[in-house]
């Protein structure tokens, strides 16, 4: 299987995704912002279509557009304090509007549907280089702001009093989420990115461990789901995104059954 170059590329991208999605997923889930992942996944599709329209790298354009969307959500939060879900509806509407208009108008010279369901066949060397660069930058950002991010999710007031620049970190985190989604959209597809962000974390939370242990377990679940999805999709001839989502959901179910029987 790994004799094929496209599978080697897919494996490398899968490793990047398996590490990145839990990095952002654990904070999104713990801040009860899981749906932001879904909204930004839709925004990334708009970014992809804009990239295809202008002849730019779809991953780069997805990253830029998703970053703008993420920062906009953070900014709009100040104006819709009591209706934060409304912000997601606004960003979702604009993003889906752009994507559908460009896809259905026939102005694109490439197939955008690969980004809906994910495709491992079309990963180019440029995509791979962009993915590796974004992944390294995102992981470095995660490591640098690790403790601040924990406190923004656990006790934002204490973080503020300790001198953490809450707004700045929130904006940085929005860009981190954008990077993870832009990287993932090629391989797993827009429709199942949110499952990769939420499900490995949901499984790890069932283990009832401390933060570091929960994060490491999330990465483990994420690796298992993505690599299983890749291998099974190769033999089944299906897009890996759907299988990855099913494996992640299956792992969550098994973990829930295991922890339930252990705690009885």
């Amino acid at each position: 299987m790994l004799d094929y170059t496209f599978m080697q590329h897919a494996l490398l991208i899968s490793i990047c995704i398996a590490i990145l999605c839990p990095c952002i997923g654990i904070f999104l889930v713990l801040k009860r912002y899981s749906m932001i992942g879904d909204t930004l996944a839709h925004a990334s599709l708009a970014g992809v279509t804009l990239g295809l329209f202008f002849g730019a790298s779809p991953i780069v354009s997805a990253f830029i557009f998703t970053s703008v969307a993420g920062v906009s959500i953070e900014f709009l939060r100040q104006y819709f304090r009591k209706y934060t879900d409304l912000i997601l509806a606004i960003v979702l509407s604009v993003s889906v509007g752009i994507a559908i208009t460009l896809i259905t108008s026939g102005v694109l010279h490439a197939n955008a549907s690969a980004y809906l369901f994910g495709s491992i066949l079309t990963v180019s060397n440029v995509d791979l280089a962009v993915t590796a660069a974004l992944s390294l930058a995102a992981v470095a950002t995660f490591i640098i702001f690790y403790h601040q991010l924990i406190y923004l999710a656990y006790d934002e007031t204490a973080a503020r009093i300790a001198g953490v620049h809450v707004k700045t970190i929130n904006y940085i985190f929005s860009i981190l989420v954008a990077a993870a989604i832009a990287i993932s959209i090629r391989s797993v597809g827009m429709l199942v990115i949110s499952s990769l962000i939420a499900l490995p974390v949901a499984s790890a939370l069932q283990l009832r461990k401390g933060f570091k242990a929960t994060f490491i377990a999330s990465v483990g679940y994420s690796f298992f789901a993505i690599l299983s999805g890749l291998v099974i999709s190769y033999y089944a001839g299906a897009a890996p995104g759907g299988i990855t989502a099913l494996v992640a959901a299956g792992a969550l179910l098994v973990t829930m059954l295991f922890t339930h029987s252990r705690n009885r």
């Binding site: 713990l30 924990i150 007031t157």
Partner: protein
């Protein structure tokens, strides 16, 4: 340590003010409890002191190199997957402390044996003692607490107030607490700041007891 001068505040920026002509001086080494009915503006005053909001008029000057803050348990996510040790360690990192001896930090409030526990497994009293230990990191010269005994059983309340009393009397730590526990406020504070109808006045615990304790022995703030 804290000087509040002619402070007025309303959320709209116009009259009527929630807090009106508030003047309060918290000297170094004092233990002052802010008391009053629900909705009187106690927590608002705390948020103004912590600079989360700006006064409509007036000023707040704080002469402290570091402030330790103990929030209410409900303001933190007690279901968060984090151990006591991680709470302390990460806080030390965001405070940029050079050395973080978790057990020694926790021993101040007798929590060192719970270092490996998940915060969700702690009792209300243990959780509060962890938050106090955290607030004392970096040697603050001012400790601000928001209803420290809310959701804590009676025996744990005694432990918490014993810690606060010790910190105030032995280490001369200045303490400002928003209190709903009037017995504790009257017993442990050096002075009480009573807010009613937007106005506040400073009184001794004895004066407060005489003025607000009913014949039946219950408190009315």
């Amino acid at each position: 340590m804290i000087t509040i001068t002619d402070l007025n505040f309303s959320y709209t920026g116009k009259k009527p003010y929630l807090l009106s002509e508030i003047n309060l001086n918290v000297p170094q080494g004092a233990y002052i409890s802010i008391v009053g009915n629900n909705g009187c503006g106690k927590s608002t005053l705390l948020r103004l002191i912590l600079k989360f909001m700006l006064p409509t008029h007036g000023s707040i000057r704080i002469n402290a190199s570091r402030i330790g803050y103990v929030p209410q348990k409900k303001d933190t996510d007690s279901a968060f997957p984090i151990t006591v040790k991680e709470v302390i360690h990460s806080y030390g990192r965001i405070l940029h402390l050079h050395s973080i001896d978790v057990r020694s930090i926790l021993s101040v409030t007798g929590m060192e044996s719970q270092a490996e526990e998940l915060v969700g497994n702690l009792s209300g009293g243990q959780y509060q003692r962890m938050l106090i230990a955290r607030a004392l990191m970096g040697n603050p010269d001012l400790l601000i607490l928001d209803e420290p005994s809310t959701g804590v059983d009676v025996s744990s309340q005694k432990e918490i107030y014993a810690v606060l009393h010790r910190l105030n009397t032995e280490q001369r730590l200045t303490i400002l607490a928003v209190e709903h526990n009037l017995y504790a406020a009257a017993r442990y504070s050096s002075m009480l700041y009573h807010i009613a109808n937007g106005h506040g006045h400073l009184c001794t615990p004895q004066h407060y007891l005489d003025e607000y304790m009913t014949r039946e022995g219950s408190f009315h703030a």
